[in-house]
Amino acid sequence: MSAPTIALLDDDEDLRQSVAEIFDVLGQNCLALPSVAAIKAAREEVLGCELVILDVNLGDGQPSGIDAYQWLRSQRFAGKIAFLTGHARSHPLVARAAALGERVLQKPITTSELRALAVEPG
């Protein structure tokens, strides 16, 4: 199996599986991870990806997608990063994500939006 080109961070198992399947149909290999700790554990694979999609809220008391973003940038990750969130834009965490200058996508996004995210230049 080829190395993953896309990494997804989301605490919802069904969602991780669904996104991975969609990317599989689109011909992309997606590494779906449930937590910031898992991202750090899969450091080499994640840093080799072209795109990382981060959920913002990862469950009560857990490090958020913002933490994952900061870690990725501290590791000099050069690929694209996008936030995928179920929150309204006004939520402080989402507002913070938007302030970082990255794309913030509102769940639920369509398959075509997902495809566009994967193919468009960073």
């Binding site: 989301d10 605490d11 919802d12 069904d14 969602l15 669904s18 996104v19 399947e21 969609i22 149909v25 913002v56 809220n57 990862l58 469950g59 009560d60 008391g61 857990q62 490090p63 958020s64 913002i66 933490d67 900061q70 969130t85 179920g86 929150h87 309204a88 834009r89 006004s90 939520h91 402080p92 965490l93 507002a95 913070r96 509102q106 769940k107 639920p108 996004i109 369509t110 398959t111 997902l114």
Partner: protein, 281 residues
């Protein structure tokens, strides 16, 4: 469900308790500072005032947990009745005993105390001050009604004090009204923040399952050719839910607590389900 406490009733209750305590202690001290014969009208009026204040205090203490506005205002307004009646007698007593005293000084002090403790319903304090003004005028203009020797420019000086007291009471009433308005606004803002928090939590909990349905439906449409007819109503229902989602998420209300600094400090995720279980403010 417990009703929220009425801040006006609490304020009026406090004023009534303080005024009655002041009258009770003042009257008790007067037995020592200006003794009168046991059977004299002044002594009778003093006992009446002591009993009157005690009764009001007992009644007020009984409803301390949930004071009623009307009752508290009544306890405030009627508290000095027997003191008011004994003023002319006291004036005469002091004058005939040759004691040094300034006529109407007690009335001035009493009225200023009432003004400082005035409840928001300023008409109550105005009525009390009016009663004191009537008493002062009667004492001044009817020679047999009380003291007969007054300072220059009386009763106008005393009435000027009363006017000042009315202004103090009115200012206090305005201040209390402003406080109530701020309290109401704060209460509405708290409710709005809570509603926003619930909305955010609902969005958080609903959107991931919606995303799963969206993607799984796409996979179903991709993998099953021709697309089963059952997929069409699901797709339409999903479109309606997406439209609803857009409306909800486009409403900008500043987040769960409206404090971006807090979120910046703590970047940890939060418990959306827990938010829905929190009691209403």
């Amino acid at each position: 469900m417990a009703q929220p406490a009425d801040p006006d009733a609490h304020a009026a209750w406090s004023s009534a308790v303080i005024v009655n305590l002041a009258l009770l202690s003042g009257t008790a001290f007067s037995f020592v500072t200006l003794p009168a014969a046991l059977g004299s009208p002044v002594t009778l009026l003093r006992f009446l005032q002591v009993g009157w204040s005690c009764l009001w205090l007992l009644a007020l203490l009984r409803c301390a947990r949930r004071p009623r506005l009307g009752f508290s205002l009544l306890a405030f307004a009627l508290s000095p009745v027997w003191t008011l009646v004994q003023f002319p007698e006291l004036g005469m007593m002091r004058q005939s005993a040759g004691l040094s005293f300034e006529p109407f000084m007690r009335q001035r002090v009493a009225v200023l105390v009432f003004a400082v403790l005035a409840p928001r319903q300023v008409w109550v304090t105005f009525t009390m001050i009016g009663a004191f003004a009537v008493q002062v005028c009667l004492e001044f203009f009817i020679p047999s009604f009380g003291a007969t020797h007054f300072g220059p420019a009386e009763p106008w000086i005393t009435l000027l004090y009363f006017a000042t007291a009315m202004w103090i009471a009115w200012s206090r009433s305005r201040h209390l009204s402003r406080e109530r308005r701020l309290e109401r606004r704060l209460s509405r803002a708290t409710a709005a923040a809570r509603a926003a928090q619930v909305e955010q939590a609902v969005l958080d909990l609903a959107n991931s399952p919606l995303q799963v349905i969206e993607l799984q439906l796409t996979l179903l449409e991709e993998r099953r050719r021709p697309v089963p007819p059952e997929a069409a109503p699901i797709r339409r229902a999903l479109a309606r839910l997406r439209a609803l989602n857009r409306i909800l998420s486009s409403r900008d209300h500043g987040g769960p607590d409206g404090n971006d600094d807090d979120a910046a400090r703590t970047l940890a995720s939060f418990d959306a389900e827990g938010v829905l279980h929190e009691p209403l403010p």
